[in-house]
Assembly symmetry: D2
Homo-oligomer: 150 residues x 4
Amino acid sequence: MLTNTRHTRIEWCDCDPAGIIFYPRYFEMFDTSTTVLIERALGMSKFEYLKAYDFAGHPLVEARARFRLPTRFGDEVAIATALVECGRSSFKVEHRLTRAGVLAVEGFETRVWVIRLADDPQRIRSQPMPRQVVERFKNGNAAIDSLPSS
Amino acid sequence: MLTNTRHTRIEWCDCDPAGIIFYPRYFEMFDTSTTVLIERALGMSKFEYLKAYDFAGHPLVEARARFRLPTRFGDEVAIATALVECGRSSFKVEHRLTRAGVLAVEGFETRVWVIRLADDPQRIRSQPMPRQVVERFKNGNAAIDSLPSS
Amino acid sequence: MLTNTRHTRIEWCDCDPAGIIFYPRYFEMFDTSTTVLIERALGMSKFEYLKAYDFAGHPLVEARARFRLPTRFGDEVAIATALVECGRSSFKVEHRLTRAGVLAVEGFETRVWVIRLADDPQRIRSQPMPRQVVERFKNGNAAIDSLPSS
Amino acid sequence: MLTNTRHTRIEWCDCDPAGIIFYPRYFEMFDTSTTVLIERALGMSKFEYLKAYDFAGHPLVEARARFRLPTRFGDEVAIATALVECGRSSFKVEHRLTRAGVLAVEGFETRVWVIRLADDPQRIRSQPMPRQVVERFKNGNAAIDSLPSS
């Protein structure tokens, strides 16, 4: 399975007048974690992979999170991310955010591969993922670790 | 049932390099819509109701959204919000964001009423909601419309 | 002079653990106000005017703000915006945010008209503004009010 | 002089439909950099120093930035921060954000030390900084490096 863990800190700018994180910030963090996971799988930055595979991105069709413990500014957290399902044109990603090893938030994303319409580049539609991408998504970390970095 | 509809516009600052809204912004909009709904139910601003009922807020234990159609900067949208369930210390809110009458996003929130711990005001815990709040949450719009504004 | 005033409310999501607005949110609000001003001057939405004049936007080369009074969630504010200077490829905009008629924040922006490089659409460079845009920017509100809306 | 450099990456969530960073995000980054600088000077986290010195924070009275080169998602940047002036109740901080060693953005902040009013904790006012804080702000890195970490 394709997994990655990244470490970050909850900052003042992430928190609301209750002194705890304003929850949409978690979705921002999860979005970055998904990007990092795919960058790792494809061996290039998001800027590069959008160009290399000529697509518009992987927006969400569904997002969900369960908030178990609040976090606040100064908290060091780890976000463990896994690609848990890979279809033809969509895939699912899960995130587990922990503080001092204790689960604080779980996140669940369903994303879809989209391209721009040829006759109206402002509009997007889903499209099957390239075969090579599906393979890398399904092969998980072991395969990636054996690839030359690009 | 307690409901409210608010109109807003998707702005440049809400959108990402794909040209469509960056989805965590929807959760920010839903949070504001829930605030407006409760302000209407309780007949005062959030700043006032946090003081009047001496509590720390109504953070989320679960948030979910389904994204059906993308929106982009300049889109005028309506967010219809309803309080759909009210327990002892938690309540559920649903949002339907439409553009030109077409459903674009559905949002689902489970929130909990929290107070600060007396011996450690930096920590929060859930607590049963005041009877008056539960009544106003359950009585819906009709009751509110008949109340004198405070 | 080209001016516009828009009314908005400081929301919970704009505020930090001190209970007051987190100041970068003001710059977001000012950015939206500038967009609204230009939309009014050109008689079309930003989405439309980027296409109509085939350019990449009007990013900032300098931004500045003076914070005189804090605002907090629930505060109704007005943002008065004026285009105060118009050069060949750049223009200056000023914002005055008031609460209950009292000045709370002043904002100052210098923006530049940019296009994408033909041989590398990911890169941008400044370019003289179209003559029609300069005229509309310089003619101010009176001229706009006399134009048919597009 | 008190200085600190921190490394971060411009993310998708920081960028707008032009594909470059939405400039208020820089002010968020600068705010975090200032926090890190003060944490280093005082030898404790912001959460801790707000409690230890019993104050409400160090909001801005003026913020300014010059944007020299755009950055975009995936860009690794360094933010060098320096406390350049320290008065009785206010201080000035400057930031230089570079990408690959090239200056992209300069930021300038004037901040004030504030406490909550005893008779109305929702309101804040400026107050002279504690002597120990001023000393640490003025003594710069050398003094800090020789202190035991708290």
